[in-house]
């Protein structure tokens, strides 16, 4: 029922499907696509909205969510969180407990320097790659 994957805020649209309801627990603005809805809060009440929005996770939110899902054509809840979020795991566990189909997406940074070899290794790597004709 549940699985976890990684995407960038831009590339998340590759994972989304029409009929997804996004529970965005991150502070990032997500690249979206038509037919995807967002879970937002208005006047203290949960809403499924076509405009993007973020939420703060609270216990009890799942019960309220389960109450509004039948009013919308939602196939899956997509929980989006930062790379080290522990709240997202609580959210995913609560959705599992409520039997709500969902996907947990951890946002990763785009490919910045941390994704590559350390800078001090660059010269040695260059030499190895040169020997195999890559550089």
């Amino acid at each position: 029922m549940s699985t976890e994957c990684t995407a960038t805020p831009l590339a998340i649209s590759e994972l989304l499907l029409a009929g997804d309801l996004i529970l965005n627990l991150s502070s990032e603005v997500l690249n979206t696509l038509p037919g995807v809805m967002y879970l937002t809060e208005q006047n203290g009440q949960l809403r499924c909205s076509e405009t993007t929005g973020q939420l703060v996770w609270q216990e009890g939110l799942t019960t309220e969510l389960a109450g509004i899902l039948p009013d919308h054509e939602i196939n899956r809840v997509v929980v989006v969180c930062g790379p080290d979020s522990s709240v997202a795991e609580q959210a995913a566990a609560a959705l599992s407990g409520a039997n709500i189909r969902h996907l947990l997406v951890r946002l990763s940074a785009d490919c910045d320097a941390s994704a590559f070899m350390d800078e001090e290794d660059a010269e040695a790597v260059s030499e190895r790659l040169r020997q195999l004709g890559y550089l």
Binding site: M1, S2, T3, C5, T6, A7, T8, L10, A11, I12, E14, L15, L103, S108, D110, C111, D112, A113, S114, A115, F116, M117, D121, A122, A124, V125, S126, R128, L129, Q131, L132, G133, Y134, L135
Partner: protein, 428 residues
């Protein structure tokens, strides 16, 4: 043990069968009779970093994010070298249901990342200490003089010296495999022979020329690889799924053609004058540039700081480049056999980082993406090149899945771990 995944870097399917049939690899001859050997397609482009990443994650580059040994940091011209940290999809040994795993010498796994088990990284690994997880395995490996890489510069001292180095490195690695194999009841073991790729790069001409003084050395090296395969086979029972894979095929290389030179000559690439050119030297007028080995990127507005190619212009430019690459020749011979679109080749959340076009090399040609434009045909001792077609996939056992008719590196896990892959896909 559920799975033994053996990697033989750069061993073409046809060559494995040929060496097995001719008696050079007698253990392989027996092995190949007990299962199914089929040709497999490599990653696009056919580079080891991307292909091994596909084999161990079950994704193509759009899913795991490794497109080559090099890449540019997003939104910049800074060249980075891909590493285990570039992976955006989990290798099979890091999945929650993987069980204890022993992983040795798998390329693109440096620096070693934590797992349930033990891992010693393969190429490009630099420092043994950072190549080992858990750290307490380091002292024994260091004592054994375990090499994270063979010294390829020895080829300049002669091919015989180079082959001896490859043999020494392989023997110590194999001792490490058996030493740690005995240490735990592993659920998965993966071990990769990488000397085969190095041998093929530098002694391919000697393999093809039976009168070469190094021809027998080439065959003897494969005989030794086969002896080690025999040692592994002796230890496996029928309950273990045994798979053997290579990451790409091999063929003759007569010349290495620098794609950036060609792009510059045709006016697509324009660089500021510099003694050591870098991607940051590209002028805004640049329309396209290449990275190793045949990746071509449009200099797109929004993707690169000085890029000016708009989305509206991109389609026409890709058509123009595809036609041009198909017609351009060097030394009277074509440079590319085919040009593939990145949009057709990749799927997954990192497809937006893909090259726009991938040049597939013509016969006898290797493509390079060096930014040093001094040599269109680059001087090199390398005489064997990777091929997209004809890598090896072998499997035996009762628990493997169906082998697709068009087998690709990203299908390996589907076949060898069908239950785990299916449950993952069902969940998704």
């Amino acid at each position: 043990m559920d799975l033994f995944l053996l990697g033989i870097d750069g061993l073409p399917r046809w060559m494995w069968q040929q060496l097995a049939d001719s008696g050079v690899m007698p253990n392989s001859q027996k092995l190949l009779r007990t299962g199914t050997l089929v040709p497999m397609k490599s990653a696009l482009p056919e580079v080891s970093s991307a292909a091994w990443a596909s084999i161990v994650t079950g994704e193509n580059s759009g899913g795991h994010n490794v497109f080559g040994f090099t890449d540019l940091l997003d939104g910049s011209y800074t060249l980075g070298f891909t590493s285990s940290r570039t992976f955006r999809a989990a290798p099979f040994w890091s999945r929650p249901d993987a069980g204890p795993s022993l992983i040795l010498n798998v390329p693109q796994t440096y620096p070693a990342q934590p797992l349930n088990g033990m891992l010693v990284s393969g190429f490009v690994a630099l420092d043994l200490k950072r190549a080992v997880y858990p750290a307490d395995a380091f002292p024994w490996l260091n004592e054994q003089k375990y090499s994270v890489d063979a010294d390829m510069s020895l080829v300049e001292k002669g091919k015989s010296r180079f082959v001896r180095e490859l043999l020494d490195v392989m023997r110590i690695r194999c001792e490490a495999l058996h030493h740690y194999w005995d240490a735990e009841p592993w659920q998965n073991v993966m071990y990769v022979f990488t000397g085969t790729d190095r041998l093929n790069h530098y002694l391919w001409e000697d393999f093809e020329d039976s009168s070469s003084p190094h021809h027998q050395e080439f065959l003897d090296f494969y005989h030794e690889v086969d002896r080690e395969i025999g040692r592994i086979l002796e230890r496996l029972d029928d309950r273990t799924t045994l798979a053997a894979v290579s990451d790409h095929g091999f063929a003759r290389q007569l010349r290495s053609v620098n794609l950036n030179c060609l792009l510059a000559e045709a006016g697509y690439l324009q660089l500021k004058p510099s003694d050591r050119p870098s991607y940051g030297d590209m002028l805004p007028e640049t329309k396209a540039f290449a990275m190793d080995p045949g990746r071509i990127y449009l200099h797109r507005e929004g993707r690169y700081p000085n890029g000016r190619v708009t989305d509206d212009e991109a389609e026409e430019l890709m058509q123009e480049l595809t036609q041009w690459l198909g017609s351009v020749s060097v030394a009277g011979a074509p440079v590319t056999a085919e040009v593939v679109r990145g949009g057709d080749a990749y799927s997954g959340p990192f497809s937006h980082r893909a090259p726009d076009l991938i040049g597939m090399p013509a016969e006898n040609v290797a493509l390079s993406g060096r930014l040093n434009l001094s040599d269109l045909i680059e001087p090199t001792l390398i005489n064997g090149r990777h091929t997209y077609e004809e890598s090896s996939f072998f499997v035996r056992g009762e628990n493997h899945g169906e082998i697709p008719a068009d087998m690709k590196v990203e299908n390996v896990l589907d076949v060898i771990l069908p239950a785990r892959e299916q449950s993952l896909r069902r969940a998704a």
